[in-house]
């Protein structure tokens, strides 16, 4: 019997199923209609979440990917549908998040004619993707989809764009599923060099004051156990990057807090005192290093990474250990001497104590005055047993959530680190609820960022996505206001903001909500939020001119941190 031919759009659905996709986020439109038509017959296996803006589809796919470790998928139309995903694609590139964005495109015969809703998406997205490819023939669908997923998830993960011409969606082919797990020109994981492992172990064994920097690579490589064994065997203190925060339990005795601009005083100061700096799966972002020319110049440096192009990009190191850190860390750990660095580790305490008294306590346990942002974060994390997934937007809400939220489980921190995308939080939280349906998702955002994606209340309503939205409302674009206060002589240029009645908006979307103004009401309101099934908006009126401290001002040495703004 002759094999039945299927359309390229149907081949896309079967290819997605072949890749194990169960969830996708998208928005239909002209040039992707054949694909959506095919999707209609796959509703049982492919759960499509209709977002309210394509940018949200990309961020939701990111949130899904970050908590699940699977590839997030978007399906959108050509032209504006495709360009709306670009912020999310760039964000995923910066933060190494595996997503595949499938966009409609005009038919191959119309390409280059400025046809309706045509945009040269491959050219636009090449610099911000691991791979961007235009499917012009239905015969390429199975190959391109498989290649896209392999590239997105392997090695250092990242976004892939498939630009799917309309004729390739409608024309017929004989479909055969494909599985690509090898590309000649692409080496996802570099070969581990035995000499590097030996040398790393030797350097660590000789170090008196080692400091480990834990990055997102540990989460991406699934090396959470390996990093603990590595730290514990040689008794080494560690600091985490923003994206690496949940790679190591917050209360682990060797976890000395976040690194960088708003990190902990101790880890930043000790960066300038350690004799060996061991970076694992992180990329020495300027928000981590402060002034590069003075950064840890006293220390020898080892950099564990899967991406050779990260080595010596920003900070020149003495030794590179290439490979998946899950493998390299365990190989090095096997060669480590069991050690105690008691005195070195204890020397962190005085800095912690100074920060606790001058910054942390006043932020999380204020006795009077308006509610503070850190106070809300700490209450929420405590009342969820430190087991929730934290999603943040960008700005003060993000930094204070990162500082005061506590993590006990891996893959629990979803934030826009490299790009700092306002509007990321709400859709990413929606994605996170689908990526980890059994976990509580707490999304902190400010009154600026929430309005950049507020249309996603619609998605939340329709899906009953159980996002616990904690809106820290200070009537300002708070982080920019803080910088204006510090560096622009208090000239608050367009940062005060007139806000709508968020509870009314929530109520229009049938999302239960509450607003807290008094400290005494906070705990009860959080409790109600946690114990209400489904989505919830908790608005907290927080101090208007709140500050994120400590702070290493841009261009300053990393240990030169302000504890208060004078």
């Amino acid at each position: 019997m002759e094999k039945q031919k299927i359309t390229g759009a149907e081949a896309l659905m079967r290819s997605l199923e072949h890749e194990g996709v169960t969830t996708l986020f998208g928005y239909p439109g002209g040039a992707i209609m054949p694909a959506f038509d095919a999707l209609y017959d796959h509703k049982e296996t492919l759960n499509h979440i209709l977002v309210r803006h394509e940018q949200a589809a990309a961020h939701a796919a990111q949130g899904y990917a970050r908590v699940s470790g699977k590839v997030g998928v978007c399906l959108v139309t050509s032209g504006p549908g495709a360009t709306n995903t670009i912020t999310g694609i760039a964000d995923a590139m910066m933060d190494s998040t595996p997503i595949v964005v499938i966009c409609g495109q005009v038919g191959a015969s119309m390409l280059g004619t400025d046809a309706f809703q045509e945009c040269d998406l491959v050219s636009v997205t090449q610099p911000i993707t691991k791979w961007a490819y235009q499917i012009r023939r239905p015969e390429d669908v199975a190959w391109a989809v498989s290649r896209a997923f392999y590239i997105a998830r392997s090695g250092r993960p990242g976004p892939v764009v498939l630009d799917f011409a309309k004729n390739a969606q409608t024309e017929l082919i004989d479909y055969e599923p494909e599985t690509i797990d090898f590309i000649r020109s692409y080496v996802p994981v570099p070969k581990i060099e035995d000499e590097a492992i030996q040398e790393a172990a030797r350097m660590i064994n000789e170090a008196k004051k080692p400091l480990v920097l834990v990055g997102q690579g540990v989460e991406l490589g699934g090396a959470q156990e390996e990093i603990r064994a590595f730290l514990e065997k040689a008794d080494m203190p560690a600091g985490c990057t923003l994206l690496g925060l949940s790679a190591l339990p917050s209360d682990h005795p060797l976890n000395k807090g976040m690194l960088g601009m708003h990190g902990s005083l101790a880890t930043n100061r000790k960066t300038q005192e350690c004799d060996l700096l061991i970076a694992v799966g992180m990329r020495f972002d300027d928000r981590i290093t402060g002034k590069l020319s003075t950064y840890a110049t006293q220390a020898k440096k080892i950099h564990f990474d899967i991406d050779p192009s990260e080595i010596n990009k920003n900070v020149v190191v003495d030794l590179a250990v290439l490979g998946n850190c899950k493998d390299t860390l365990s190989a090095v750990t096997a060669l480590l001497k069991e050690q105690k660095h008691t005195e070195w580790i204890e020397s962190f305490n005085e800095h912690y104590e100074e920060e606790r008294v001058r910054v942390i306590e006043p932020e999380i346990h204020p006795q009077e005055g308006p509610i503070k942002m850190g106070e809300v974060v700490r209450k929420v994390t405590e009342m969820t047993g430190n087991k929730a997934i934290l999603v943040t937007d960008v700005g003060q809400n993000q930094m204070l959530a990162a500082r005061y939220f506590k993590f006990t489980e891996k893959r629990s921190m979803v934030t826009s680190g490299g790009m700092g995308t306002m509007g990321f939080g709400l859709p990413a939280a929606v994605g996170a609820t689908f990526g980890a349906p059994d976990r509580l998702v707490c999304a902190f955002m400010g009154d600026g960022g929430i309005q950049m994606s507020i249309q996603e209340f619609g998605t939340i309503m329709e899906q009953q996505a159980p996002v616990k939205i904690i809106l820290l409302n200070n009537n300002y674009l708070g982080n920019v206001r803080q910088w204006q206060e510090m560096f622009f002589n208090h000239r608050y240029s367009f940062t005060p903001m007139l806000n709508p009645d968020y509870e009314k908006i929530a109520s229009a979307y049938n999302i239960p909500s509450e607003t807290v103004v008094e400290r005494a009401d906070l705990e009860k309101a959080i409790d109600k939020m946690i114990h209400t099934d489904g989505p919830y908006l908790l608005q907290v009126a927080v101090i208007e001119e709140g500050e994120v401290l400590p702070m290493c001002c841009p261009g300053n040495d990393v240990d030169d941190m302000l504890l208060e703004i004078k």
């Binding site: 050219s123 090449q126 610099p127 791979w131 797990d181 020109s185 080496v187 050779p308 192009s309 990009k313």
Partner: protein, 190 residues
């Protein structure tokens, strides 16, 4: 910084896929390094393209640029070289005004002195070609230009092959073939 700059030649091999050239040149743009010359052609291996790119930059930059180019999915290999590590060749075409060439014997003297060849002569113009290193080609141009006879002039991008006895691309492809076979065997054994 300026004085640390050297002239580098980057040799890149890629799969013959659309759009790779864009990705390669974008790395230079992003790191604010100007490309001095660029030559792309099919290599001796079927389906593999070879790019020869030259630029003035620091060693620190060229290392980063090389790694970032090599990171592109469809790029097989990228290596950078200084002039002492490669054999270099360029070619130039000079279109000269024939009446000036006839009236000015120094013009044909310069052509002979530079070892260039005349490939076409007609009453209007004369075409001269010269291969060699940049400085030889430029020297002939300046020599001809002083007689005001150059109607058109074009210099190709540099092409280069390495002096090394090791063929790095062959080695890379052999390694990749081996990894592929190993992976296939592992899969077959479950």
């Amino acid at each position: 910084m300026e004085q640390d700059k050297k002239f580098y030649t980057l040799i890149v091999f890629s799969e013959n896929f659309a759009g790779v050239l864009n990705q390669v040149t974008a790395v230079f743009t992003r790191r604010q390094v100007n490309i001095e010359s660029l030559n792309v052609s099919a290599s001796s291996i079927k389906g593999v393209h070879k790019y020869t790119i030259t630029c003035w930059t620091t060693e620190e930059q060229i290392v980063i640029i090389t790694k970032q180019i090599e990171k592109k999915i469809d790029v097989l290999q990228a290596n950078y070289f200084t002039d002492d590590e490669i054999f270099i060749q360029e070619v130039a075409l000079y279109k000269l005004a024939t009446p000036v060439v006839i009236d000015t014997p120094q013009v044909s003297e310069e052509v002979r002195r530079h070892g260039a060849q005349i490939v076409e002569v007609n009453p209007t113009y004369t075409v001269v070609t010269k291969k060699g290193r940049t400085e030889d080609i430029m020297s002939l141009y300046h020599a001809l230009n002083q007689w005001n006879c150059v109607l058109q002039y074009v210099r190709s991008g540099r092409i280069a092959i390495t002096k090394s006895c090791i063929e790095y691309l062959d080695r890379f492809l052999a390694e990749r073939r081996e990894s592929y076979e190993t992976q296939k065997k592992q899969k077959a054994n479950g």
